[in-house]
Amino acid sequence: MIHLTPWDLVIASILIIMLAITSFMMQLNIARQLLIAASRNVIQLLLVGYILKLIFANTNLFYLGGIAAVMLLVAGFEINARQKYPLKRWVGFKIGTSALFLSSFAMALVALLVIVAPTPWYSPQYAIPLLGMLLGNTMNGISLGMDKLNQSVYQQRLIIEQRLMLGQDYQEVIQDIRAESIRTGMIPIINSMAIAGLVSLPGMMTGQILSGTPPVEAVKYQILLFFLITAGTGFGIMLAVSMIARRLFDDRQRLSLALLKIKS
């Protein structure tokens, strides 16, 4: 494998700086965000590179548990960021994190204990990247599904109330919105599964091929990963969206938007 020198990365970073200068001159108002994101990217990844080096050197279930917990909490927190009608912070964090935990950790355990089964099963070289990809994708899915759900409920609140007034059960009233929200969350992963290989080469597979793994080996891993991620994402979204949909109604089946943080 060809090793990258710091200069190689400097050349790549010049491209980003050129993009920033151009967007500044075009008054796109995004140069600052671009540079901050690029700097975060460098710092976070370098940091994680060193941490991983440390962790790979001592295979220890407690270290792994610690890292996994941090990953889970950050993902759980980010679910509720960048929503148009976010949930109240603590509720959003609680629902998001528990859905993430149940789906992603279950999938990771299936992969580690049954399918890939490295020795020991918590070998960090497998566990961390796997969990990372599961959490990242599931987080995206839940975030999209939740955004759709909250936005639809808010916009259709009069219709929801009318249907409740007519004596419809809340399950019946929310059913279409819930289905639509779950579908919205699942579209990205289904899309990327469908075009994989024809339009895009998935990142993990590309990385493995670049580092010298035979393509067919890389492909097998990629397929496994796609299935795990899709299942994890799908179940995670169903869980999170259903939990929120349930809690948008109180014990007497009244629509209660107190769960949402309405920006005025």
Partner: protein, 218 residues
């Protein structure tokens, strides 16, 4: 024969202006008009009686307390017709489980209405269809929030007659919000006037004795 009774109903948590306790009974077959300045909370009161808003106190339909049955069941029995109706599918027919020919015909609709697009309905058509929709649920009490606000004179009196006919046929109570004092005097047996912090109820002796559409109801 079921009266609608409100005991110690308090809605201060929803609307601070409504800090009075409500205690009244609308006897079976009778109509109580609701009047008062706009924004005082008349609609809030009706929504609470339909158990669409959290509230203190109890609401009884006959012997039945609202919280003793599931909320959807209560709302089918104690039906609220809001000032503005909502429609969520593309066509009229999708909002009805069946076609009640007599009821539709009463308001001048024939079977083709089921295929009409919601987007093309006038506000008056929506209001008449909403009235049909709610009566088809066979309610045991009616809560009407300015039901004729969007109707012309002819349809207004059709609706008034239909409600009074339904009420006397099934012996059910009704609460009726209106800003039209003449209408309240036509339809109500008693009138509740809502003010900030209190309310008064008086008998309405002006209610005309109306000849019912059919049968012995009066």
């Amino acid at each position: 024969m079921t009266d609608l009774t409100v005991k110690n109903l308090n809605l201060a948590a929803i609307t601070p202006k409504l800090n009075q306790n409500f205690n009244f009974t609308v006897p079976a077959g009778q109509c109580m008009g609701l009047s008062g300045p706009s924004g005082i909370g008349k609609s809030v009161l009706l929504k609470a009686i339909a158990d669409m808003l959290p509230h203190q106190g109890e609401i009884y339909l006959g012997e039945l307390e609202s919280r003793s049955i599931p909320a959807p069941k209560w709302r089918k029995k104690v039906a609220l017709l809001p000032a503005e109706s909502q429609w969520w599918y593309d066509r009229v027919g999708e909002h009805f489980s069946k076609f009640d020919e007599a009821l539709f015909a009463y308001f001048g609709f024939d079977k083709t209405v089921m295929n009409w697009q919601i987007a093309h309905l006038s506000s008056g058509e929506k209001q008449r269809l909403a009235c049909i929709r709610i009566l088809m649920n066979q309610p045991r009490a009616l809560l009407l929030d300015e039901p004729t606000a969007n109707l012309d004179k002819e349809n207004r009196s059709l609706l008034e007659r239909l409600i009074s006919q339904y009420q006397c046929e099934h012996r059910i109570p009704a609460l009726w919000i209106s800003h039209d004092q003449e209408q309240l005097q036509r339809v109500s047996d008693q009138i509740l006037v809502l003010n900030e912090g209190d309310y008064t109820i008086h008998k309405n002796s002006d209610k005309p004795h109306r000849k019912p559409l059919q049968g012995e109801c009066a």
